[in-house]
């Protein structure tokens, strides 16, 4: 039944209707950073450089690659990153 895509808020309405983004960490020190190559042409050039700069600063970096930029990441890859990393750098592709 799709009579309306307007739902009535069941809460005490003390938080914003639009979900807020998780705040970014104050520092990357001690965190594991995931770098996700989404498979877009030459995207790897950019993010490998980014990862290298992070490593130069002594940060812990792990590298991952998505099979294709046209589809969302396979669930196994998403779970692996979520389990192994505190933050992730990924791109959006057109």
């Amino acid at each position: 039944m799709n009579d309306s895509l307007k739902l009535l808020d069941p809460t005490g309405e003390t938080s914003p209707a639009t979900r807020e983004r998780k705040p970014p960490p104050e520092s990357l020190d001690g965190l594991t950073i995931g770098i996700l190559d989404i498979g877009k042409a030459r995207g790897d050039v950019f993010i490998d450089r980014l990862g290298g700069l992070m490593e130069d600063r002594g940060l812990t970096v792990k590298y991952y690659k998505k099979p294709t930029n046209t589809r969302v990441a396979p669930i196994d890859l998403a779970q692996t990153i979520a389990t192994e990393c505190d933050v992730v750098v990924e791109a959006l592709s057109d």
Partner: protein
């Protein structure tokens, strides 16, 4: 709003044989009166050959005019309705139109058909469509590519199981279950002390899967949970297992199809499953009582998704639980009890009340901890076969409770710290005396279960039972 022009109004639909039979009559009315408007509910090309046909497939005019049957003929004078004929009745139509010999060759009268505006579920849809729903809750837009059930999960509105998305139509329909106004305040929900209206309870009842006729039970359960004596705030925050358990008594239990028989404490009955869940969703969503947040339960129990059942009142040997607790005969009520999981007592051999009491007491002694007393309350859910042993011996419930008191008055030396090589227990200062397992009023019995099975269930209460924490609260169920 619909503004009414003077003249005649007909509301009709092609799907109605009486409406189609009257096509010549509409033509006569159009010729004979200057101002005829025909509102057509299902087919804008019907009736053919009549000017002034207005497409009412959106049903706004039908809704605004309160049409229940088609055809309906209305006379409007000075902008106000001055007369109405429902279905076909030649005399009435002639009187309203001022024309003679209408519908020659047709029967003198013929009943109409149901208006599309009053088809099942349509009234709520139209109330929402035309802005009469008067709902105050914030609207949350869900885009078309989102799955609306996933959207509810994403917003944190779920206890882990799917919820029914609370659309305006569903909430308006839910509110039909009560005579109370949507903005009536039910109370303030801990821990966030959010004001809770009937509308908010209805939204959460929709999500839980309730039918509208369950809503008065849910409202009574929320009110009971908010009584200071029940201590919902503390129960929510505790590391203990407990959550609110809803026991329903009275005629409403049968009217809404609740289960007090086979598998009464288990799954499979919509009312049992959803009423308790609705209470917990109100606490979660309005109060903000989220596990891991303010809910600090070490383990919790599966009944915290929702735990509700009806007492089996079919055996008149004992009064109903609600009657004992002051609710009038023939009335319905909820009683809230703060309880943990279910412990079975599987006694197949006791045939005397003395034996059965001692047997059940062995299980009761273990509530909370076998070496602790008093503190935790307990509720015995007695099956018909165990009840029969007491009934055959002519024991009243008061007598049973007296006997429990006696057998659950225990030498303190068995329970002091260190006794039986177990560190846990009552303080050494109690040595030499006796202790009673339950506080006065802390042990209660209700009846439920299938007709076969010599067993009863025992549901332990919170470690903070009585004045220190929670007490049972009974509320009459309103309308």
């Amino acid at each position: 709003m619909v503004t009414l022009a003077d003249g005649l109004i007909v509301v009709a639909k092609r799907d109605c044989p009486t409406c189609t039979m009257l096509e010549p009559v509409y033509a006569r009315l159009a010729e004979g009166t200057a101002d005829l408007t025909v509102y057509t509910q299902d087919d804008p090309s019907f009736p053919a050959g009549v000017e002034g046909v207005v497409d009412d497939t959106e049903l706004e005019t039908s809704y605004r005019l309160g049409i229940e049957t088609v055809p309906t003929l209305i006379r409007v004078e000075d902008g106000a309705e001055s007369g109405r004929a429902v279905g076909w009745d030649r005399g009435e139509w002639e009187m309203l139109s001022g024309l003679r010999e209408l519908g020659e060759g047709l029967p003198d009268s013929q009943p109409g058909c149901g208006s599309k505006s009053v088809e099942p579920g349509m009234a709520e849809t139209l109330a929402v469509r035309f802005g009469d729903a008067k709902l105050m809750a914030r609207r949350i837009e869900v885009t078309e590519i989102e799955d609306e059930i996933e959207a509810c999960y994403d917003r944190g509105w779920s206890d882990g199981l799917p919820v029914v998305p609370p659309t305006e139509v569903r909430v308006v329909r839910m509110l039909q279950g009560t005579t109370r106004g949507p903005q009536d305040v039910v109370g303030v929900i801990p821990p966030n002390n959010a004001e809770c209206t009937v509308e908010k309870v209805a939204i959460n009842a929709v999500m839980a899967g309730c039918k509208p006729e369950y809503l008065p039970v849910v409202l009574a359960a929320v009110e009971a949970a908010l009584e200071p004596a029940f201590c919902m705030h503390g129960m929510l925050c505790t590391t203990h297992f407990v959550g609110p358990i809803v026991i329903v008594n009275g005629p409403i239990a049968e009217r809404i199809g609740m289960n007090s028989g086979v598998n009464a404490l288990g799954q499979g009955n919509r009312a049992n499953a959803t009423i308790g869940r609705a209470l917990q969703l109100v606490i979660r969503n309005l109060g903000g009582g989220v596990p891991g947040g303010i809910d600090r339960a070490t383990l919790g129990n599966p009944g915290k998704v929702g735990f509700c059942f009806a007492e089996d009142e079919s055996n008149p040997v004992w009064q109903s639980f609600a009657r004992e607790r002051g609710i009038g005969s023939g009335k319905s009520a909820v009683t809230l009890y703060g309880g943990e999981g279910v412990m079975g007592n599987f006694d197949q051999l006791s045939r005397t009340p003395e034996s059965l009491t001692r047997s059940l007491a062995m299980s009761l002694r273990a509530i909370g901890h076998p070496k602790k007393a008093p503190g935790h309350d307990a509720l015995v859910v007695m099956s018909p076969e165990h009840l029969r042993i007491y009934a055959a011996a002519g024991w009243s419930k008061a007598r049973v409770l007296e006997e429990f008191d006696e057998v659950l008055t225990i030498p303190a030396d068995e329970m002091i710290r260190g006794a039986h090589g177990v560190a846990e227990g009552i303080p050494e200062s109690k040595a030499g005396g006796t202790v009673t397992k339950f506080r006065p009023g802390g042990l209660n019995i209700v009846r439920a279960g299938g007709s076969a099975g010599l067993m009863s269930a025992i549901i332990g209460g919170w470690g903070a039972s009585g004045e220190r924490g929670t007490d049972l609260v009974t509320k009459e169920i309103g309308t």
